[in-house]
Each structure stands twice: as structure tokens, then as C-alpha cells.
């Protein structure tokens, strides 16, 4: 049960971005997708959403093949929060959140009571009611990130797949976003989140999947994955763990070249 990835192999152009990835994600838990740049984190997320096609392998959701689900059915169950979510037009916040209901509505149907309730709930969860009628271009980065999260939550998906939701947020808003992700998992939703900041990963994640070069380097309980030994293999940098924080250590300085006369 849950969301599972089995022997997934994905090529983009000439490059193999995922090379036999197998991982399992459990509902009610936050799973961090970690790894150096180019490890295939975003690709894994996109393949799980069937946004890119796998060469071999498959993704299943409660036993059903995700790529065989209809697009609307898939959209209702898997919510996707893309990285640096773009917005082409300057439209009011409420209209953005309402977009999250598209997979629940008919082509011409006006929003019904359930849609309106879901939108209101999503805006409550993200504290966005205060600026519901403002235009998105007038929002700060933190407010905008919450609106984008509200857009996904309005669809009431069972799963949230978020690609670097902390990028471009200040520390306070990062903590706020992490708390909201945790909150989703607490009420039974599955959360898969691509993170760069390992300390934040340690703070928020129950489980972690560490990717390197398109393969799974380590998987399991976040505390077990995020050890200096594993991280050295993944990032090529020594880490030191101080309680809840992980600090990358700069390589020892090269010995000074002896002065020549």
C-alpha cells in the first residue's frame, strides 16, 4: 500500500536521470527526497506524477499503476507543488486557489458547495484568507508560497509531492512551511518533499530517500539515513552532527606552500 516506485528507469534526452530506483512512501509520514544537485530528485517526483514517462519500472498508488490512472483521477489523488511555482497572469489569490479544484469540476460547471468549502479549508490551513482578494503580484515571496500550497491543498489530494518548497523562503517562512507539511502528514496525508537543507530534512522528515546519480544511496528512517558516513558518500563532503543540525565541514586547508626564496 502507499506510493511505491519499483525499478524506475527514466531518460531525458541522452541522460539517464533515474537508474533503477526502488522506494516506498507511506501515508501519514513525511518523506524527504535528498541528494546532490542532479541526483534525480525532481525527476523522481515528476515520474511519480506521470509527468515524465519511465523507460522501465512503474509507480503504484495503493496497488494501482499511476500511469494507468486517468489524468483527472491521478490529479485528485496526487497533488504537485512545483519548484518556484510560476504564475503567468496576475490574478486574484482566491482564483489561484480555485484552480486546485479543476480536477473535481466539470468543464463548465460552476464551483459547487464542496468546491467552495475545500477552497476555504485550504485557505484556512495556509492562513491565506487575509489576502484572498489581493492580486498575486502584490504578495511577498512567503505569502505567494502559501497561496501555491493552498492551490494544491484545495484539490484535497491524498498525497502532496512538493519540489523544494523552501527555496526562496526566509528562515521563519521555511519553519512555517515545514510545520504545514508536518500538519498534513499528521492528519493522514502522504507527504514527499524534495529538500536541499539537510538540517530542515532532519527536522521535518520521518523517512528519507537519498539519491545519487539517479540511484538510491540510502533509504529509511530519516535519523538512520542522515548520518555523516552516508552523507559523505552522497555529497563528498564531511558533515558533523550537532544535536538537530548537520553542518558541512570545509575540506581541511591544504598545507601552506613553503615560501621560496
Amino acid at each position: 500500500m502507499g506510493l511505491t516506485v519499483t525499478d524506475l528507469r527514466v531518460r531525458l534526452g541522452q541522460r539517464t536521470v533515474l537508474d533503477g530506483v526502488t522506494a516506498a512512501f507511506a501515508p501519514g509520514r513525511v518523506t524527504a527526497l535528498l541528494g546532490p544537485n542532479g541526483a534525480g530528485k525532481s525527476s523522481l517526483l515528476r515520474a511519480m506524477l506521470a509527468l515524465i514517462t519511465a523507460e522501465t519500472g512503474h509507480v503504484t498508488l495503493d496497488g494501482a499503476d499511476v500511469s494507468a490512472l486517468g489524468p483527472r483521477e491521478r490529479a485528485r489523488r496526487l497533488g504537485y507543488l512545483p519548484q518556484a511555482a510560476e504564475l503567468a497572469w496576475n490574478i486574484p489569490v482566491r482564483a489561484v486557489v480555485e484552480l486546485g479544484r479543476l480536477s473535481h469540476r466539470g468543464r463548465f460547471a460552476a464551483p459547487n458547495a464542496a468546491d467552495k468549502e475545500a477552497v476555504a479549508r485550504a485557505m484556512t490551513l495556509t492562513d491565506t484568507h487575509a489576502f484572498a482578494d489581493r492580486l498575486t503580484a502584490e504578495l511577498s515571496g512567503g505569502e505567494r508560497a502559501r497561496v501555491m500550497l493552498a492551490r494544491v491543498l484545495a484539490g484535497e489530494p491524498d498525497w502532496l509531492l512538493a519540489d523544494e518548497p523552501l527555496a526562496s523562503l526566509d528562515p521563519a517562512h521555511q519553519l512555517d512551511m515545514l510545520a504545514r507539511l508536518r500538519g498534513l502528514a499528521r492528519v493522514g496525508g502522504g507527504v514527499v518533499v524534495v529538500l536541499h537543507d539537510l538540517t530542515q530534512a532532519l527536522r521535518v522528515a520521518d523517512d528519507a530517500v537519498l539519491l545519487k546519480d539517479g540511484r538510491v544511496l540510502a533509504e529509511g528512517n530519516a535519523d538512520d539515513v542522515l548520518t555523516p558516513e552516508v552523507l559523505l558518500r552522497a555529497y563528498g563532503v564531511a558533515f558533523r552532527r550537532h544535536g538537530p543540525t548537520l553542518m558541512p565541514m570545509p575540506p581541511a586547508p591544504a598545507p601552506p606552500t613553503p615560501a621560496r626564496r
Binding site: 483527472r72 485528485r76 497533488g79 504564475l87 503567468a88
Partner: protein, 322 residues
């Protein structure tokens, strides 16, 4: 209905009435009715022209709004996907082959050109649904059709056919009959019906292609609907009026300050605004001094340039670093 929509409806009606009344001969309301000879100017000459003005303006405005929403680019216009050019090529071919007196052949040939564009777009883009591939394929079609049109005109059998073809390319609603209305309207209506279904998908696309797909949108299907809708409606518009540029580009910009930027909210107002703009412009071109009218396509281009200048200046004011 929302207030801006009512306002734009009123403007379109005003344009329609203006188009009936204004011209070298003014026909005041007192002369409306069958016993005044001036009424025949309206019934025979101006009514078909005003109806076509409404329809052509509406489909150009709507197509422009749909394409701008789809490509998420405020500079998109119906010419961008090549349908206008290929329909123009079809019409020019018919004119040069001596079918200037056979409106049905002219119309059919232009529609065949538009149909070919839709099929080729489908073949060139495939099932990817990528907007970039769509624009590139449209640009290929546009350039090819433009080159072939120029070639055909350069080998025209006689100067008369050549001037006929060049004049037609400039776009006009002069001397159209109710037959033209009857031929063009069904296609324009069908295309409009197809395009009207795209609003919600265009809204989803404002989040970007991947987010829209994650909301259940089928991009390939949307693209096919847009190609078909623009092909039918703009193809028929070009087939009855020649190439009238700028309407599809300008009108969505004009209505956004009234109705906001949400793509689905821009569609109907753009259709109404296009209808108002083309009927009003077509009435104005008749008022130009001299025996000849200014061609509608030329008038729109002349109106379009200062509009773009204003857009540029506003853009610079809002984004001083640009």
C-alpha cells in the same frame, strides 16, 4: 452579467449601428425602412458588411485571447500559428487561377489552406502538447505560406490578377454580400464553439505546463482543440475578409484592465471587444476622403502601431530596469 461585459456588448452594438449608418452616404435612422432608397444601401451593402465585421472581429479577438492564454505570452496573435497565412495563400491561389468571380471557389480554397495548416500543425507537433513546438510549427507554416504567396503573386498571369491578390491580402469588408455571410458564419460559429470550451484549461495553464498537467489537463487535447477552433474561425474570417491583423493582438490587452487577467475571464470580452473594434474601424475607413476606401487591414495596422508604442511605454514605466 458583469458590468464590463455589458459595456463591451453595448460597444459592439454601437459599432454595428455605426457601420450601418456611416459611410460616403449617411443613412439617418429616419430613412430606415423599405420606402427610402437609402435603405437599400443598408440592406444590400452595409448589413452584410456590418454582420461580417461583428463576426470577424469576434473570432479574431477570441482567437487572440485563447492563444495568448495558451502560450502565456501577451504578444501571441492568431497569425502566429500560420492559419491566416495559409488561408491567405489558398485565396491568392484561387484569385490568380482566375476564380476572382467565383466566391465559392475562393472561399473553399482559403478554407482548404486553413485546414492544411491545422493538419500540418498536428503532424509537426505530434502528441507532445508542447507550446514551444506549437509556436515553432506555426512559424514554419507562416513563413512557408508567406513565401509561396509572394511567389504566386510574382508569377501572376496579368497585372489585374496581381492587384486583385495584393488588394485581397490587405483585408477588407467592402462589397461583401449576404452569401459571404452565409458561407463564413457557420465556420466561425463552429470555431467559436470549440474555442469557448478551452477557458478552464487556459486558467490551469497559468500555473505552467507541468502544474496544469498535474491538475489533470491533457495538453495534447487542448492543443488540438485550439488548432481546430482557430483553424475554423480564423480560416473562415480570412476567407471572407482577407487578412486583418492586429485585432487578435490588441483586443485582449484592451479588455484585461476591465476584466482582470484570468484567461477564461478574458475570452468573451475579447470577442465582444473585437466585434466592436472591427465594426467601428470598418465604419471609419469608409469616411476617408477620396473615392477609394482605406483598406481595413491597413487601417488596423496603422491603429496597431501607436497601440504598441503605448504598450512599450507603459511596460518601461512599470519595469524601469527593462
Amino acid at each position: 452579467m458583469k458590468r464590463p461585459v455589458l459595456l463591451l456588448t453595448a460597444l459592439a452594438l454601437l459599432g454595428f449601428v455605426l457601420s450601418l449608418v456611416a459611410g460616403k452616404v449617411w443613412v439617418p435612422f429616419s430613412a430606415w425602412g423599405s420606402d427610402d432608397p437609402r435603405w437599400w444601401i443598408i440592406a444590400e451593402l452595409r448589413l452584410p458588411r456590418a454582420l461580417l465585421g461583428l463576426a470577424v472581429g469576434a473570432v479574431l479577438g477570441l482567437s487572440g485571447a485563447v492563444l495568448q492564454g495558451y502560450l502565456r505570452n501577451p504578444l501571441a496573435d492568431p497569425a502566429l500559428i500560420g492559419v491566416s497565412s495559409t488561408a491567405g495563400l489558398g485565396a491568392v491561389a484561387a484569385l490568380l487561377l482566375g476564380f476572382a468571380g467565383a466566391p465559392l471557389v475562393l472561399f473553399g480554397s482559403a478554407m482548404a489552406g486553413a485546414g492544411a495548416a491545422v493538419l500540418l500543425l498536428g503532424l509537426l507537433v505530434g502528441r507532445s502538447g508542447s507550446a514551444l513546438a506549437f509556436i515553432l510549427a506555426g512559424t514554419v507554416l507562416q513563413s512557408l505560406a508567406g513565401a509561396l504567396t509572394a511567389f504566386l503573386i510574382s508569377v501572376a498571369p496579368n497585372p489585374y490578377a496581381m492587384s486583385e491578390a495584393i488588394g485581397w491580402m490587405m483585408g477588407a469588408l467592402t462589397d461583401r454580400s449576404m452569401d459571404d455571410v452565409a458561407r463564413g458564419l457557420p465556420f466561425m460559429a463552429a470555431g467559436t464553439a470549440v474555442l469557448a470550451t478551452t477557458g478552464r484549461s487556459l486558467d490551469a495553464l497559468s500555473l505552467g505546463e507541468e502544474a496544469a498537467r498535474s491538475l489533470g489537463l491533457r495538453l495534447g487535447r487542448l492543443q488540438a482543440l485550439i488548432a481546430l477552433g482557430v483553424g475554423l474561425s480564423v480560416g473562415a474570417a480570412v476567407a471572407v475578409s482577407g487578412v486583418v491583423g492586429f485585432v487578435g493582438l490588441i483586443v485582449p490587452h484592451l479588455v484585461r484592465p476591465l476584466v482582470g487577467q484570468k484567461p477564461s475571464d478574458v475570452l468573451l470580452p475579447s470577442a465582444l471587444g473585437g466585434a466592436a473594434l472591427v465594426t467601428a474601424a470598418d465604419a471609419l475607413v469608409r469616411l476617408a476622403p477620396g473615392a477609394e476606401e482605406v483598406r481595413l487591414g491597413i487601417a488596423m495596422a496603422l491603429l496597431g502601431t501607436p497601440f504598441f508604442l503605448a504598450l512599450l511605454l507603459r511596460f518601461r514605466r512599470e519595469q524601469p530596469w527593462a
